[in-house]
């Protein structure tokens, strides 16, 4: 009976099924099939034999990975970089959204907002070109200014210690303008009567921002934070690949899981281990997002992601 009803409604919905088909097939091929490919992590992968033909090796890929000592370092870097990106980014996004909202000149606002938006539109390749133009040792603008002031030239590409700050700066530079739009939209949605009433009661601008605007932004901030937190073990490959790449002098301060996995894949020397590292990363991400979501669901169900 039930099967019959299923087929009848499905036949009635045949066009809906047809419209769903491409995306469903896409997701099966590009998301679910690779999931079955995680068996590579437990195999000595041989390209000729293929995924399912290669020999099982149990956990030896993982043993190798965990023994190499690099894993903890990579995981910590990935996590800390992402946390820095999230917090610094959010601070400036919210800050600029609040400031821009209070500015009175419409023309100024529009012009400068579009300036702030610009870096979002370019690829990391172009960012890397710009960074070289500004910071390169021989011809970089910064070094030009320093030496014309009589200072000593800085070779940033050979000195790893400032790069954690630089990477946070570049990443923020690229995303702040765009990210602030979300908060700006939330601010424009705040009931103006709240501000008027507060003003009548004698609240100054700073007080109104603190007691009206900021609290109204909190839900959006939490949602954005959670969305980012779910990806906290997934590094920004483009940023790190284009700006750090294979520069052995910088890698000690700026190596992340994604770079490591890519290098292992590119050298094709040890696909099994690269795959094990990838699985480790995926599982970390999954656990993080499930945990975060479960906690939020308990405390404040409205903010949970799913």
């Amino acid at each position: 009976m039930q099967a019959k009803r299923f087929f009848r409604t499905s036949w009635n919905n045949r066009y809906l099924w047809l419209m769903l088909l491409p995306a469903a097939a896409y997701v099966i091929v590009f998301s679910y099939l690779p999931m079955s490919g995680i068996v590579i992590a437990f195999k000595n992968f041989n390209y000729v034999k293929g995924i399912f033909g290669s020999d099982w090796v149990g956990l030896s890929n993982f043993r190798f990975l965990f023994m190499s000592n690099k894993l903890w370092f990579l995981t910590r870097n990935t996590l800390l970089y992402n946390l820095a990106f999230i917090t610094v980014g959010m601070f400036f996004e919210v800050g600029f959204a609040i400031i821009i909202n209070e500015l009175t000149s419409k023309k100024f606002k529009r012009l400068f907002q579009s300036f702030m938006f610009l870096p979002f539109f370019i690829s990391w390749v172009v960012v890397a070109a710009i960074v070289q133009a500004v910071f390169s040792f021989e011809y970089g603008m910064l070094n030009g200014i320093i030496s014309s002031l009589g200072g000593e030239r800085i070779n940033l590409y050979a000195n790893a210690s400032p790069w954690p700050y630089l990477l946070v700066a570049f990443r923020s530079w690229k995303t702040i303008g765009y990210g602030s739009v979300v908060y700006l939209a939330t601010i424009t949605g705040i009931d103006p009567e709240l501000h008027e009433a507060a003003a009548i009661d004698g609240a100054g601008l700073v007080q109104r921002i603190r007691h009206i605007t900021l609290p109204c932004l909190v839900p959006t901030m939490i949602i954005m934070f959670l969305l980012a937190l779910g990806q906290v073990f997934r590094g920004d490959f483009g940023l790190f690949y284009q700006l750090i790449g294979n520069n052995a002098l910088l890698l000690p301060k700026a190596d992340i899981l994604d770079l490591f996995i890519y290098r292992a894949l590119a050298s094709t020397s040890d696909l099994g281990m690269a795959s094990a590292a990838g699985l480790y990363q995926s599982v970390l991400c999954f656990i993080t997002i499930m945990t975060v979501n479960a906690i939020i669901k308990k405390i404040q169900p409205d903010y949970s992601l799913f």
């Binding site: 809906l16 047809l18 419209m19 769903l20 491409p22 995306a23 469903a24 997701v27 690779p34 999931m35 079955s36 490919g37 995680i38 992968f45 390209y47 995924i51 821009i100 209070e102 500015l103 100024f108 012009l111 400068f112 300036f115 938006f117 610009l118 979002f120 539109f121 370019i122 690829s123 390749v125 172009v126 710009i130 133009a133 500004v134 021989e138 011809y139 603008m141 070094n143 030009g144 303008g177 739009v181 003003a199 100054g204 601008l205 700073v206 969305l227 490959f237 690949y241 284009q242 790449g245 994604d258 996995i261 292992a264 894949l265 696909l271 690269a274 795959s275 990838g278 995926s282 799913f306």
Partner: protein, 301 residues
């Protein structure tokens, strides 16, 4: 009361003064690097070698562009590939996101929740780079195939969710009454629903087009033949080969002859202008759609 008002006025004044300053400074920080790239691309190499990168142009020259176009084959290939992938890919990506989003918000489609989870789960867990790479190269024939420039960016669950949430705001009665009139779901979607979703189409189209235009990652993974590379990858390769040449010089290898004959630094900037130009030119016209895009369809599963 009067004094209180004065304080409030002063507060506002101070805040605005600080606000305008900060926004001005940051805005300039965002736009000046582009100006620097543009200006230096029109400098002679000799002048750049002497003065370094600077906003103050000393010798105007178009030699970098002349050189870039003296042997334009690779630029043209890269342009062709990226423009092609952007047009085809964007059209398919928008179609897939809206079509799927429409089905998943139909109340009379009993499997909608199951499928929503089916799609959403892929954002929570994935197989990782290596299995995907092996699948695509060994089984799907991505290596040096144009499909590698189109397929990987063709469907995004986030875009689908945006589409689903946006289409939800279109009155359900439209679908209902059309069904009563005997129209099939495909006709309803293309003839009735899509025309009401222009802001959605614009937003998704722009997001996808930007992703395709700026893509170098898939070339990095799958393409080794010069005639099939994307524009951004080509730019990256050029920047890196200039860098590699420099490293050779630093190591003491004599490549002086190459060095003199190639305007490396200005050429790098000229190539950056050539590859990024179209986006920057389109930018003023499309910007507002991006702002809209962020505010339509809250991102929630």
């Amino acid at each position: 009361m009067v004094s209180n008002n004065k304080i409030i006025q002063r507060d506002k004044l101070v805040f605005c003064a600080i606000g305008y300053t900060l926004v001005t400074l940051y805005g300039l920080l965002c736009v000046l690097p582009f100006v620097l790239v543009f200006i230096t691309s029109f400098t002679s190499e000799a002048s750049l070698m002497k003065n370094g990168y600077t906003f103050f142009i000393k010798e105007f020259s178009t030699e970098a562009y002349a050189l870039a176009f003296r042997n334009p084959q690779r630029i043209l290939w890269a342009y062709r590939n990226t423009v092609g992938a952007t047009i085809i890919g964007t059209a398919l990506a928008v179609l897939m996101a809206t079509m799927t989003g429409y089905v998943l918000q139909r109340r009379d489609f009993p499997q909608r929740n199951g499928f929503s989870l089916f799609f959403f789960f892929t954002t929570l867990f994935n197989g990782g780079l290596v299995p995907t790479y092996i699948l695509c190269t060994r089984y799907l024939g991505f290596k040096n195939n144009y499909i590698a420039l189109v397929l990987p960016l063709m469907f995004s669950v986030w875009n689908m969710i945006i589409a689903k949430n946006f289409i939800k705001s279109v009155p359900y009665e439209i679908t209902e009454s059309a069904k009563v009139d005997g129209a099939n779901d495909m006709v309803i979607f293309f003839r009735l629903i899509l025309p009401l979703c222009k802001p959605l189409l614009a937003t998704l189209g722009l997001f996808s087009a930007l992703a395709y235009w700026n893509d170098w990652y898939n070339t990095l993974l799958y393409i080794t033949r010069e005639e099939k590379m994307s524009l951004q990858y080509f730019l990256q390769e050029m920047i890196n080969s200039v860098q590699a040449l420099k490293n050779l010089v630093a190591m003491g290898v004599s490549v002086d002859s190459v060095r003199v004959s190639l305007p490396q630094e200005t050429m790098k900037m000229a190539m950056t202008v050539i590859t990024t130009g179209p986006i920057i030119l389109l930018y003023p016209f499309v910007q507002r759609y991006f702002v809209k895009g962020l505010t339509i369809g809250a991102v929630k599963g």
